[in-house]
Symmetry: C2
Subunit: 118 residues, 2 copies
């Protein structure tokens, strides 16, 4: 469904591993992963949907507006999560030394077009 | 205690508003805020400590190693949280159009020195 956009995000970001479109209940809509990605993007995204939920609750408490993006960096993985609309989000996993700025940019550019089709 | 390091992070980042050193229980150790910052960095950080907790649990589940950093972007505020050690973290709030890359860089540079004193 979104294969072309997803592939572009992963392949154009140095250190990019895998990307997924998922709903807030953890159901994957479409995904693209490089061969040999060391993590299953499905599992990563399901875990991160709880982090996104926590961020949304924090934003509501702070009256800081809607949460557009979260990024989580660990020793082995950096993941960026961008909300597409109320139901769906885009999650992108990369190596810890991957180009986070480039990844954020490519996701930001792709999001409005993807959101239109959801 | 860390006034000089904190001031440097805020003042050298375009759009920087306020920064705080806080423990995981929400007790602030030191803080620096620009005049007219539209949010109380104490309140923001207490809320974000729950997001950091969720990220840490997700990283453990995924065996992805220690969580070093999370960033949350909302309509009105972008906040970067960097862990300093098991007990303390550094949280930096900036305008949504602030220079996230510069902020992350300055926090990463300051963290090891600050961690030594904790």
């Amino acid at each position: 469904m979104f294969k072309e956009q997803l592939q572009k995000i992963v392949d154009k970001t140095e250190g990019g591993l895998a990307v997924i479109v998922m709903d807030m209940n953890g159901i994957a809509l479409d995904t693209y992963a490089k061969d040999g990605a060391p993590f299953d993007i499905n599992t990563v995204s399901i875990e991160l949907s709880t982090v996104l939920g926590a961020a949304k609750r924090a934003s509501e408490m702070l009256e800081a507006g809607k949460t557009s993006e979260i990024a989580v960096s660990t020793e082995k993985l950096t993941t960026i999560v961008r909300t597409l609309n109320e139901t769906y989000f885009l999650a992108f996993a990369m190596k810890p030394d991957g180009n986070v700025g480039k990844g954020r940019y490519l996701m930001r550019m792709a999001a409005p077009e993807m959101a239109k089709e959801l």
